[in-house]
Protein backbone atom coordinates (compact mmCIF):
# COMPACT_ATOMS: atom_id res chain seq x y z
CA UNK A 1 0.00 0.00 0.00
CA UNK A 2 1.29 3.41 -0.90
CA UNK A 3 1.97 5.96 1.77
CA UNK A 4 -0.71 8.28 0.39
CA UNK A 5 -3.45 5.66 0.54
CA UNK A 6 -2.42 4.77 4.10
CA UNK A 7 -2.56 8.42 5.09
CA UNK A 8 -5.99 8.78 3.46
CA UNK A 9 -7.27 5.76 5.36
CA UNK A 10 -5.90 7.20 8.60
CA UNK A 11 -7.56 10.51 7.76
CA UNK A 12 -10.90 8.77 7.35
CA UNK A 13 -10.50 7.08 10.71
CA UNK A 14 -9.58 10.38 12.30
CA UNK A 15 -12.72 11.92 10.82
CA UNK A 16 -14.71 9.35 12.77
CA UNK A 17 -12.80 10.26 15.93
CA UNK A 18 -13.49 13.90 15.22
CA UNK A 19 -17.21 13.27 14.94
CA UNK A 20 -17.04 11.49 18.29
CA UNK A 21 -15.17 14.41 19.89
CA UNK A 22 -17.75 16.85 18.54
CA UNK A 23 -20.50 14.69 20.05
CA UNK A 24 -18.70 14.65 23.43
CA UNK A 25 -18.39 18.44 23.41
CA UNK A 26 -22.00 18.96 22.44
CA UNK A 27 -23.16 16.36 24.97
CA UNK A 28 -21.28 18.06 27.81
CA UNK A 29 -22.60 21.47 26.80
CA UNK A 30 -26.22 20.52 26.26
CA UNK A 31 -26.21 18.32 29.37
CA UNK A 32 -24.99 21.18 31.52
CA UNK A 33 -27.51 23.58 30.03
CA UNK A 34 -30.38 21.15 30.54
CA UNK A 35 -29.32 20.29 34.09
CA UNK A 36 -28.93 23.90 35.14
CA UNK A 37 -32.23 24.86 33.53
CA UNK A 38 -34.05 22.06 35.36
CA UNK A 39 -32.52 23.16 38.67
CA UNK A 40 -33.52 26.73 38.01
CA UNK A 41 -37.05 25.70 37.07
CA UNK A 42 -37.36 23.60 40.23
CA UNK A 43 -36.32 26.60 42.34
CA UNK A 44 -38.53 29.11 40.58
CA UNK A 45 -41.34 27.36 38.70
CA UNK A 46 -43.01 30.73 38.02
CA UNK A 47 -40.34 31.72 35.48
CA UNK A 48 -40.12 28.26 33.89
CA UNK A 49 -41.27 29.63 30.51
CA UNK A 50 -38.48 32.20 30.31
CA UNK A 51 -35.88 29.67 31.38
CA UNK A 52 -37.10 27.15 28.84
CA UNK A 53 -36.78 29.49 25.87
CA UNK A 54 -33.35 30.69 27.02
CA UNK A 55 -32.32 27.07 27.49
CA UNK A 56 -33.29 26.25 23.92
CA UNK A 57 -31.36 29.22 22.56
CA UNK A 58 -28.23 28.26 24.50
CA UNK A 59 -28.54 24.61 23.45
CA UNK A 60 -28.94 25.69 19.82
CA UNK A 61 -25.76 27.78 20.04
CA UNK A 62 -23.77 24.87 21.50
CA UNK A 63 -25.19 22.55 18.90
CA UNK A 64 -24.26 24.97 16.13
CA UNK A 65 -20.59 24.77 17.11
CA UNK A 66 -20.74 20.97 17.33
CA UNK A 67 -22.33 20.79 13.88
CA UNK A 68 -19.43 22.79 12.46
CA UNK A 69 -17.22 19.92 13.64
CA UNK A 70 -19.56 17.31 12.19
CA UNK A 71 -19.63 19.08 8.81
CA UNK A 72 -15.84 19.13 8.65
CA UNK A 73 -15.72 15.42 9.53
CA UNK A 74 -18.30 14.67 6.82
CA UNK A 75 -16.26 16.57 4.26
CA UNK A 76 -13.12 14.62 5.20
CA UNK A 77 -14.89 11.28 5.22
CA UNK A 78 -16.77 11.76 1.95
CA UNK A 79 -14.51 14.12 0.07
Amino acid sequence: MELLTILLEIGQGLAGLGAGAAAIGAGLGVGRIGGSALEAMARQPEVAGDIRSNMIVAAALVEGVALFGVIVCLLVALG
Partner: protein
Amino acid sequence: MYTRLAIYFLTLTLGLSAQALASDGHESHGDEHTHEEAFNPSNFIIHHIADAHDIHLWGEGHSAVHIPLPVIVYSEEHGLDVFMSSAFEGHGDVRTAQRGDATYELSHGHISLASPGSHAHDHGDSDHADHEHHGPKVYDLSITKSIFGMLVMLGLMVLLFGRMAKSYRSRPGQAPTGLTNALEPLVLFLRDEIAIPNIGAKKADKFLPFLLSVFFFIFFANLLGLIPFIGGFNVTGTLGITMVLAAFVFLLTTLNGNKHYWGHLFWPPGVPLFVMPIIIPIEIVGMFLKPIVLMIRLTANISAGHIIILSFVSLILIFGKGGDAMAAGYGIGVFSTAFMIFMYCLELLVAFLQAFVFTLLAAIYFGEATHEAHH
Protein backbone atom coordinates in the same frame (compact mmCIF):
# COMPACT_ATOMS: atom_id res chain seq x y z
CA MET B 1 -53.99 -3.56 21.69
CA TYR B 2 -50.45 -4.75 22.34
CA THR B 3 -50.90 -7.71 19.98
CA ARG B 4 -52.05 -5.41 17.24
CA LEU B 5 -49.08 -3.08 17.80
CA ALA B 6 -46.75 -6.07 17.71
CA ILE B 7 -48.29 -7.26 14.43
CA TYR B 8 -47.92 -3.80 12.89
CA PHE B 9 -44.33 -3.65 14.01
CA LEU B 10 -43.51 -7.10 12.68
CA THR B 11 -45.14 -6.37 9.30
CA LEU B 12 -43.25 -3.12 9.01
CA THR B 13 -39.97 -4.81 9.92
CA LEU B 14 -40.37 -7.69 7.49
CA GLY B 15 -41.62 -5.45 4.70
CA LEU B 16 -38.81 -2.97 5.10
CA SER B 17 -36.08 -5.58 5.36
CA ALA B 18 -37.44 -7.55 2.43
CA GLN B 19 -37.69 -4.45 0.27
CA ALA B 20 -34.20 -3.27 1.21
CA LEU B 21 -32.65 -6.69 0.63
CA ALA B 22 -34.55 -7.21 -2.61
CA SER B 23 -33.48 -3.90 -4.09
CA ASP B 24 -29.89 -4.46 -3.03
CA GLY B 25 -29.88 -7.98 -4.47
CA HIS B 26 -31.35 -6.70 -7.72
CA GLU B 27 -28.72 -4.03 -7.92
CA SER B 28 -25.88 -6.53 -7.58
CA HIS B 29 -27.42 -8.80 -10.22
CA GLY B 30 -27.98 -5.94 -12.63
CA ASP B 31 -24.31 -5.00 -12.59
CA GLU B 32 -21.61 -6.95 -14.32
CA HIS B 33 -20.43 -9.82 -12.22
CA THR B 34 -16.82 -8.91 -12.86
CA HIS B 35 -16.63 -6.63 -9.87
CA GLU B 36 -18.35 -7.96 -6.76
CA GLU B 37 -18.75 -4.50 -5.30
CA ALA B 38 -19.74 -4.42 -1.67
CA PHE B 39 -22.65 -2.25 -0.59
CA ASN B 40 -21.39 1.30 -0.05
CA PRO B 41 -23.47 3.03 2.63
CA SER B 42 -22.05 6.51 2.09
CA ASN B 43 -22.95 6.50 -1.63
CA PHE B 44 -26.41 5.24 -0.77
CA ILE B 45 -26.93 7.96 1.84
CA ILE B 46 -25.54 10.78 -0.28
CA HIS B 47 -27.77 9.72 -3.16
CA HIS B 48 -30.80 10.06 -0.89
CA ILE B 49 -30.02 13.37 0.79
CA ALA B 50 -28.56 15.13 -2.24
CA ASP B 51 -30.68 17.22 -4.57
CA ALA B 52 -31.76 15.48 -7.79
CA HIS B 53 -33.38 16.22 -11.12
CA ASP B 54 -36.17 13.71 -10.59
CA ILE B 55 -38.09 12.23 -7.67
CA HIS B 56 -36.89 8.69 -7.12
CA LEU B 57 -39.73 6.64 -5.66
CA TRP B 58 -38.42 3.07 -5.50
CA GLY B 59 -36.46 0.40 -7.35
CA GLU B 60 -33.01 0.39 -8.86
CA GLY B 61 -31.71 0.32 -12.41
CA HIS B 62 -34.33 -0.63 -15.00
CA SER B 63 -37.16 -1.18 -12.51
CA ALA B 64 -36.68 2.23 -10.88
CA VAL B 65 -39.78 4.41 -10.71
CA HIS B 66 -39.08 8.12 -11.13
CA ILE B 67 -41.25 11.20 -11.33
CA PRO B 68 -39.57 13.43 -13.93
CA LEU B 69 -39.12 17.13 -13.18
CA PRO B 70 -38.53 20.02 -15.59
CA VAL B 71 -34.93 20.75 -16.51
CA ILE B 72 -34.14 24.36 -17.40
CA VAL B 73 -30.63 24.90 -18.69
CA TYR B 74 -28.92 27.88 -20.25
CA SER B 75 -25.66 27.82 -22.14
CA GLU B 76 -24.12 30.48 -24.31
CA GLU B 77 -24.00 28.17 -27.31
CA HIS B 78 -27.47 26.67 -27.27
CA GLY B 79 -29.39 29.30 -25.32
CA LEU B 80 -32.26 28.46 -23.04
CA ASP B 81 -33.57 24.91 -23.18
CA VAL B 82 -36.49 23.43 -21.25
CA PHE B 83 -37.30 19.72 -21.20
CA MET B 84 -38.39 17.02 -18.77
CA SER B 85 -35.71 15.03 -16.95
CA SER B 86 -37.18 11.83 -18.46
CA ALA B 87 -35.34 12.87 -21.63
CA PHE B 88 -32.16 11.67 -19.94
CA GLU B 89 -31.67 8.11 -21.18
CA GLY B 90 -29.86 5.22 -19.58
CA HIS B 91 -29.58 4.13 -15.96
CA GLY B 92 -25.90 4.45 -15.13
CA ASP B 93 -23.95 7.18 -13.43
CA VAL B 94 -23.85 9.27 -16.60
CA ARG B 95 -27.11 9.76 -18.51
CA THR B 96 -27.45 11.74 -21.70
CA ALA B 97 -30.25 13.69 -23.36
CA GLN B 98 -30.25 14.71 -27.03
CA ARG B 99 -31.82 18.12 -27.67
CA GLY B 100 -31.43 19.29 -31.22
CA ASP B 101 -27.70 19.57 -31.81
CA ALA B 102 -26.93 19.74 -28.10
CA THR B 103 -26.21 16.68 -25.96
CA TYR B 104 -26.64 17.19 -22.22
CA GLU B 105 -24.95 14.91 -19.76
CA LEU B 106 -26.34 14.28 -16.27
CA SER B 107 -23.72 12.95 -13.92
CA HIS B 108 -24.29 12.89 -10.13
CA GLY B 109 -26.90 15.63 -10.32
CA HIS B 110 -24.65 17.86 -12.40
CA ILE B 111 -25.62 18.80 -15.96
CA SER B 112 -22.94 19.54 -18.55
CA LEU B 113 -22.72 19.72 -22.33
CA ALA B 114 -21.31 16.43 -23.61
CA SER B 115 -19.86 17.36 -27.00
CA PRO B 116 -18.86 20.98 -27.24
CA GLY B 117 -19.37 22.36 -30.74
CA SER B 118 -16.13 22.57 -32.70
CA HIS B 119 -16.48 26.34 -33.09
CA ALA B 120 -16.17 26.75 -29.32
CA HIS B 121 -12.48 25.96 -29.55
CA ASP B 122 -11.75 28.57 -32.20
CA HIS B 123 -11.70 31.52 -29.86
CA GLY B 124 -10.52 31.96 -26.30
CA ASP B 125 -8.91 28.55 -26.06
CA SER B 126 -6.28 29.72 -23.63
CA ASP B 127 -8.61 31.10 -20.96
CA HIS B 128 -10.72 27.94 -21.13
CA ALA B 129 -7.70 25.72 -20.73
CA ASP B 130 -8.37 25.13 -17.05
CA HIS B 131 -11.97 24.12 -17.64
CA GLU B 132 -11.42 22.22 -20.83
CA HIS B 133 -12.50 18.87 -19.48
CA HIS B 134 -15.70 20.41 -18.09
CA GLY B 135 -16.83 21.63 -21.50
CA PRO B 136 -18.76 24.88 -21.96
CA LYS B 137 -20.44 26.39 -18.94
CA VAL B 138 -24.05 25.35 -18.41
CA TYR B 139 -26.28 27.34 -16.08
CA ASP B 140 -28.66 24.89 -14.48
CA LEU B 141 -31.90 26.59 -13.37
CA SER B 142 -33.88 23.35 -13.18
CA ILE B 143 -36.83 22.74 -10.91
CA THR B 144 -34.99 20.11 -8.89
CA LYS B 145 -36.42 17.89 -6.17
CA SER B 146 -35.73 20.44 -3.42
CA ILE B 147 -37.16 23.29 -5.43
CA PHE B 148 -40.23 21.23 -6.28
CA GLY B 149 -40.68 20.48 -2.56
CA MET B 150 -40.24 24.16 -1.77
CA LEU B 151 -42.87 25.18 -4.34
CA VAL B 152 -45.29 22.56 -3.00
CA MET B 153 -44.79 23.94 0.52
CA LEU B 154 -45.24 27.53 -0.61
CA GLY B 155 -48.44 26.63 -2.47
CA LEU B 156 -49.74 24.77 0.57
CA MET B 157 -48.96 27.75 2.80
CA VAL B 158 -50.77 30.20 0.53
CA LEU B 159 -53.75 27.85 0.50
CA LEU B 160 -53.79 27.24 4.27
CA PHE B 161 -53.24 30.81 5.40
CA GLY B 162 -55.47 32.22 2.69
CA ARG B 163 -58.33 30.11 4.01
CA MET B 164 -57.40 31.04 7.56
CA ALA B 165 -57.48 34.77 6.79
CA LYS B 166 -60.81 34.38 5.01
CA SER B 167 -62.34 32.63 8.01
CA TYR B 168 -61.40 35.59 10.24
CA ARG B 169 -63.18 37.95 7.85
CA SER B 170 -66.29 35.82 7.45
CA ARG B 171 -66.71 34.99 11.14
CA PRO B 172 -65.59 38.11 13.00
CA GLY B 173 -65.53 37.86 16.79
CA GLN B 174 -66.38 34.16 16.86
CA ALA B 175 -64.31 31.28 18.14
CA PRO B 176 -62.06 29.80 15.42
CA THR B 177 -62.90 26.39 14.00
CA GLY B 178 -61.10 23.64 12.15
CA LEU B 179 -57.88 24.63 10.45
CA THR B 180 -57.84 28.11 11.95
CA ASN B 181 -58.18 26.54 15.36
CA ALA B 182 -55.13 24.38 14.73
CA LEU B 183 -52.88 27.15 13.43
CA GLU B 184 -53.95 30.08 15.63
CA PRO B 185 -52.11 28.85 18.76
CA LEU B 186 -48.85 28.64 16.78
CA VAL B 187 -49.30 32.14 15.37
CA LEU B 188 -50.10 33.52 18.82
CA PHE B 189 -47.15 31.63 20.30
CA LEU B 190 -44.82 33.19 17.76
CA ARG B 191 -46.20 36.66 18.44
CA ASP B 192 -46.36 36.50 22.23
CA GLU B 193 -43.35 34.30 23.03
CA ILE B 194 -40.89 35.13 20.26
CA ALA B 195 -41.60 38.45 18.55
CA ILE B 196 -42.83 40.70 21.37
CA PRO B 197 -40.33 39.72 24.13
CA ASN B 198 -37.35 40.00 21.77
CA ILE B 199 -38.24 42.89 19.48
CA GLY B 200 -40.60 44.89 21.66
CA ALA B 201 -44.36 45.38 21.35
CA LYS B 202 -44.02 48.50 19.21
CA LYS B 203 -41.78 47.13 16.45
CA ALA B 204 -42.84 43.48 16.55
CA ASP B 205 -45.64 43.99 14.03
CA LYS B 206 -43.13 45.12 11.43
CA PHE B 207 -41.14 41.88 11.61
CA LEU B 208 -43.97 39.47 12.41
CA PRO B 209 -44.91 38.68 8.78
CA PHE B 210 -41.33 37.63 8.02
CA LEU B 211 -40.97 35.62 11.22
CA LEU B 212 -44.27 33.80 10.66
CA SER B 213 -43.43 33.02 7.02
CA VAL B 214 -40.00 31.69 7.92
CA PHE B 215 -41.30 29.63 10.82
CA PHE B 216 -44.11 27.95 8.90
CA PHE B 217 -41.98 27.42 5.80
CA ILE B 218 -39.22 25.69 7.77
CA PHE B 219 -41.68 23.72 9.90
CA PHE B 220 -43.73 22.44 6.96
CA ALA B 221 -40.66 21.73 4.84
CA ASN B 222 -39.12 19.76 7.71
CA LEU B 223 -42.30 17.73 8.04
CA LEU B 224 -42.38 17.14 4.26
CA GLY B 225 -38.90 15.65 4.54
CA LEU B 226 -40.13 13.16 7.14
CA ILE B 227 -42.88 11.62 5.00
CA PRO B 228 -41.46 8.27 3.86
CA PHE B 229 -41.84 6.74 0.36
CA ILE B 230 -42.44 10.01 -1.51
CA GLY B 231 -38.87 10.49 -2.61
CA GLY B 232 -37.25 11.74 0.58
CA PHE B 233 -37.43 15.50 0.17
CA ASN B 234 -34.59 17.27 1.92
CA VAL B 235 -35.73 20.85 1.36
CA THR B 236 -34.42 22.52 4.51
CA GLY B 237 -31.34 20.28 4.36
CA THR B 238 -30.34 21.90 1.06
CA LEU B 239 -27.68 24.53 1.63
CA GLY B 240 -29.00 26.85 -1.09
CA ILE B 241 -32.43 27.17 0.46
CA THR B 242 -31.22 27.80 4.01
CA MET B 243 -28.67 30.23 2.58
CA VAL B 244 -31.46 32.35 1.11
CA LEU B 245 -33.38 32.27 4.39
CA ALA B 246 -30.26 33.32 6.31
CA ALA B 247 -29.48 36.02 3.73
CA PHE B 248 -32.92 37.52 4.34
CA VAL B 249 -32.25 37.57 8.09
CA PHE B 250 -28.88 39.25 7.46
CA LEU B 251 -30.37 41.86 5.10
CA LEU B 252 -33.26 42.68 7.43
CA THR B 253 -30.91 43.00 10.40
CA THR B 254 -28.44 45.19 8.52
CA LEU B 255 -31.01 47.41 6.81
CA ASN B 256 -32.97 47.97 10.01
CA GLY B 257 -29.91 48.57 12.17
CA ASN B 258 -30.20 51.89 14.02
CA LYS B 259 -27.51 54.21 15.35
CA HIS B 260 -27.38 52.28 18.61
CA TYR B 261 -26.73 48.97 16.79
CA TRP B 262 -23.93 50.32 14.60
CA GLY B 263 -22.44 52.15 17.56
CA HIS B 264 -22.23 48.90 19.51
CA LEU B 265 -20.69 47.22 16.49
CA PHE B 266 -17.92 49.69 15.64
CA TRP B 267 -17.27 51.37 19.01
CA PRO B 268 -18.62 49.24 21.86
CA PRO B 269 -19.27 51.56 24.81
CA GLY B 270 -17.49 50.99 28.10
CA VAL B 271 -14.68 48.90 26.65
CA PRO B 272 -11.08 49.92 27.53
CA LEU B 273 -9.16 51.36 24.61
CA PHE B 274 -6.51 48.62 24.40
CA VAL B 275 -9.18 45.92 23.96
CA MET B 276 -10.79 47.76 21.04
CA PRO B 277 -8.48 46.30 18.31
CA ILE B 278 -9.59 42.82 19.43
CA ILE B 279 -13.27 43.53 20.08
CA ILE B 280 -14.09 45.45 16.90
CA PRO B 281 -12.93 42.76 14.41
CA ILE B 282 -14.71 40.11 16.48
CA GLU B 283 -17.92 42.14 16.40
CA ILE B 284 -17.68 42.64 12.65
CA VAL B 285 -16.92 38.97 11.97
CA GLY B 286 -19.79 38.10 14.31
CA MET B 287 -22.18 40.17 12.23
CA PHE B 288 -21.54 37.86 9.25
CA LEU B 289 -21.07 34.72 11.29
CA LYS B 290 -24.54 34.86 12.86
CA PRO B 291 -26.51 34.23 9.62
CA ILE B 292 -23.90 31.70 8.46
CA VAL B 293 -24.40 29.70 11.64
CA LEU B 294 -28.18 29.96 11.19
CA MET B 295 -27.75 28.46 7.74
CA ILE B 296 -25.43 25.63 8.80
CA ARG B 297 -27.44 24.74 11.90
CA LEU B 298 -30.64 24.18 9.97
CA THR B 299 -29.01 22.32 7.06
CA ALA B 300 -26.85 20.11 9.26
CA ASN B 301 -29.64 19.28 11.69
CA ILE B 302 -32.12 18.22 9.04
CA SER B 303 -29.53 16.38 6.94
CA ALA B 304 -28.16 14.65 10.06
CA GLY B 305 -31.64 13.35 10.87
CA HIS B 306 -31.97 11.91 7.37
CA ILE B 307 -28.46 10.44 7.54
CA ILE B 308 -29.18 8.66 10.82
CA ILE B 309 -32.42 7.14 9.54
CA LEU B 310 -30.72 6.04 6.32
CA SER B 311 -27.85 4.57 8.32
CA PHE B 312 -30.32 2.25 10.02
CA VAL B 313 -31.56 1.15 6.59
CA SER B 314 -27.93 0.65 5.52
CA LEU B 315 -27.36 -1.64 8.51
CA ILE B 316 -29.92 -4.09 7.10
CA LEU B 317 -28.07 -4.15 3.78
CA ILE B 318 -24.63 -4.44 5.37
CA PHE B 319 -25.68 -7.41 7.48
CA GLY B 320 -27.81 -8.92 4.71
CA LYS B 321 -24.82 -8.89 2.31
CA GLY B 322 -27.00 -8.34 -0.75
CA GLY B 323 -29.26 -11.33 -0.10
CA ASP B 324 -26.51 -13.79 0.87
CA ALA B 325 -27.26 -13.63 4.58
CA MET B 326 -31.04 -13.20 4.66
CA ALA B 327 -31.41 -14.30 8.30
CA ALA B 328 -28.91 -11.71 9.50
CA GLY B 329 -30.64 -9.08 7.38
CA TYR B 330 -34.06 -9.81 8.84
CA GLY B 331 -32.62 -10.11 12.35
CA ILE B 332 -30.94 -6.72 12.24
CA GLY B 333 -34.07 -5.35 10.54
CA VAL B 334 -36.02 -5.74 13.80
CA PHE B 335 -33.58 -3.51 15.67
CA SER B 336 -33.19 -1.10 12.78
CA THR B 337 -36.93 -0.59 12.53
CA ALA B 338 -37.26 -0.03 16.26
CA PHE B 339 -34.51 2.58 16.23
CA MET B 340 -35.92 4.14 13.07
CA ILE B 341 -39.32 4.62 14.70
CA PHE B 342 -37.58 6.20 17.68
CA MET B 343 -35.59 8.49 15.38
CA TYR B 344 -38.73 9.47 13.52
CA CYS B 345 -40.32 10.57 16.80
CA LEU B 346 -37.18 12.53 17.63
CA GLU B 347 -37.14 14.08 14.17
CA LEU B 348 -40.72 15.26 14.59
CA LEU B 349 -39.52 17.14 17.66
CA VAL B 350 -36.43 18.42 15.80
CA ALA B 351 -38.61 19.60 12.89
CA PHE B 352 -40.47 21.91 15.25
CA LEU B 353 -37.43 22.82 17.33
CA GLN B 354 -35.28 23.90 14.39
CA ALA B 355 -38.07 26.07 12.98
CA PHE B 356 -38.50 27.55 16.46
CA VAL B 357 -34.78 28.15 16.98
CA PHE B 358 -34.33 29.76 13.56
CA THR B 359 -37.26 32.11 14.18
CA LEU B 360 -36.19 32.86 17.75
CA LEU B 361 -32.62 33.73 16.76
CA ALA B 362 -33.84 35.83 13.84
CA ALA B 363 -36.13 37.70 16.25
CA ILE B 364 -33.22 38.23 18.67
CA TYR B 365 -31.04 39.65 15.88
CA PHE B 366 -33.85 41.97 14.75
CA GLY B 367 -34.34 43.03 18.36
CA GLU B 368 -30.62 43.83 18.70
CA ALA B 369 -30.70 45.87 15.50
CA THR B 370 -33.72 47.97 16.45
CA HIS B 371 -33.09 48.25 20.19
CA GLU B 372 -33.19 51.81 21.53
CA ALA B 373 -30.56 53.06 23.98
CA HIS B 374 -31.97 52.95 27.50
CA HIS B 375 -29.05 54.00 29.63
